[in-house]
Symmetry: C2
């Protein structure tokens, strides 16, 4: 998710941006470009809040929570090794902020069911996960929980891809309804339009863990090489000498990300037929290994307890922000006694 627009505040102070990720398993190359690079830019340009959305993970993974603690730790360690700096950004765990649940309950009381039922991703997820009896109350309420994630820390901008615009619009509607009922308490977040790079997996479809076509950022070098070698290429290029079409080849799409210095010769060799796919994929494998080598080295050097330390510190850092919001909310709703 590359940031393509920014919303500097009139005051000149950096705007508060919020983004969270569900700890549902190992990160792959798609996440590397879609999430991590965006976070690195945001922590430089904004007052960045990054959180691990463990409660959100329950909307689909409620029946395999035994993986959660490991997934949370791995995700935070990945962030640290990739360069996320808890001194610059506020990094925390959603479930450490119990007030998120309280505000979700409160905002749920003023959120019409119709608003939730018309969210496009809700129906998609219902369809995708139909076989797992997934149409739970919490899944329908996902956008309410998302709204709370944003407003409880007074997030001003939220990076969203095209498919998430409807979610942010819903968050804004809920905020407007709340403020209309109880006074101008919550900040209406702005969308920061972003472009999600389309990273193909080994089979040419969008890279995705659930499709089994992903190259993971923590794959061993030999696994990376093997996955690169197993990638599909232009089906018309069958043997060395056949001319290929880089524009439809998933291997070339990854070269564009990882091999800027040999991009011209790769494209020319492919079109001319002088570069065979086997060699081209070997090149990609080496580039992947080289690209992720320093990251993996930093990752190995981290004590696993670093994740817990970061989340504990983040909890302390986010607490005063959350407490102020909840004080204002409870008071506006006459819930203080």
């Amino acid at each position: 998710m590359a940031v393509v627009s920014e919303s500097p505040q009139p005051s000149g102070r950096p705007a508060r941006v919020l983004t969270g990720y569900r700890p549902t398993g190992p990160l792959h190359v798609g996440h590397w470009f879609g999430n991590i690079q965006s976070m690195l830019e945001l922590q430089r340009t904004h007052d960045a809040f990054f959180f691990v959305a463990d409660w959100h993970a329950l909307t689909t993974d409620f029946d395999r929570t035994e993986r959660l603690p490991g997934n949370i730790r791995e995700l935070v360690l990945d962030w640290l090794a990739a360069g996320i700096d808890p001194q610059q950004a506020t990094v925390y765990l959603q479930s450490h902020v119990s007030e998120v649940a309280e505000l979700t309950l409160l905002l749920g009381m003023i959120t019409p069911l119709g608003w939730l039922e018309r969210v496009p991703t809700y129906k998609e997820r219902l369809r995708d996960l139909a076989e797992r009896e997934i149409a739970n109350y919490g899944l329908l309420g996902y956008p309410v929980l998302q709204t709370v994630d944003i407003v409880i820390v007074r997030g001003e901008v939220v990076p969203v891809g095209e498919d998430q615009v409807a979610h942010l619009e819903l968050a804004r509607e809920i905020v407007r309804r709340f403020n209309g009922l109880y006074g101008e308490i919550l900040v209406e977040p702005q969308a920061m339009l972003s472009e999600t790079p389309r990273i193909p997996g080994t089979d040419g479809r969008k890279m995705s863990s659930s499709l089994g076509n992903d190259i993971r950022i923590n794959d061993e070098p030999d696994v990376m090489r093997k996955k690169a070698s197993s990638m599909v290429t232009d089906p018309q290029k069958i043997r060395l000498g056949d001319p290929g079409r880089p524009e439809i080849c998933p291997v070339f799409a990854l070269h564009q990300k990882f091999s800027p210095d040999i991009l011209v010769e790769t494209e020319a060799g492919c079109r001319a037929g002088t570069l065979g796919c086997v060699k081209c994929k070997q090149n990609l494998g080496e580039r992947l290994v080289a690209h992720f080598g320093p990251f993996q080295e930093r990752r190995r050097a981290l004590d696993p307890s670093a994740a817990d330390d970061v989340l504990a510190a983040g909890r302390d850092k986010v607490r005063p922000v959350v407490e102020q919001t909840m004080k204002d909310v409870r008071s506006a709703m006459h819930l203080t006694t």
Copy 2:
């Protein structure tokens, strides 16, 4: 709600019973017999937990929360004046237990929407309140919140009227689903079947604040007398001398509750036509005033701050119970980090 059956525990210790009421306005004679008398009995026979369900009040009253603080205080003062003893029972405010929101979020993740949509009272309330754009997410989730109220304090028995049997069955289903997924953590509550006395209002329909036909337990004596005098009676009994039918007369229904010592002569006089409705209603007014006099006197003697003190003490009393439940729940769901 008179208790008609009890569930003593095999151990001989009193079972933990839970009941809560929404602070939506002044109590009337229907509440006096339906709720208060039941609570007085429960605190004698059980390990009783009584809570003020302020979050539940939001499901319908989210747009008039300014009344909440007063309603909460009035309700607790009514309870105290009626004889609820915070030394015997645990009396607390729902929103003082923030973990209720957390567990509601968690149980919502495993509660199928279909279970909630088929709750009969949900559809009824939708119909009743259609004009107020009330079909909010929180209203649909009402039974999840109710389930949490019970299980978070490990309630063993819950007094339910016939119309609430479906709610308790749903609570049991949610508990079974949770325990099936995560282990035997939550206590499956038992229904304590109870009979709700049908108290007629001044117009003969069921007494209800929203119908404007209620006689309030804190009405001034003159207001009580006036309301009694305004009651409808047997429409065939038009003037003194006409024989009446006590079995269809709402005034007689109230005499049955308030006037045991003159019940025989009231019934005979009505049937014979020798007792006129004006006199009969005057009698009822005096009985009401006499019945509620001592209660109102105790009520006036209470310092309003007594309500806050009781709820603060209740919060401390309920906290260790709740914390133990949440510790067990988070651990079973692998949410401890």
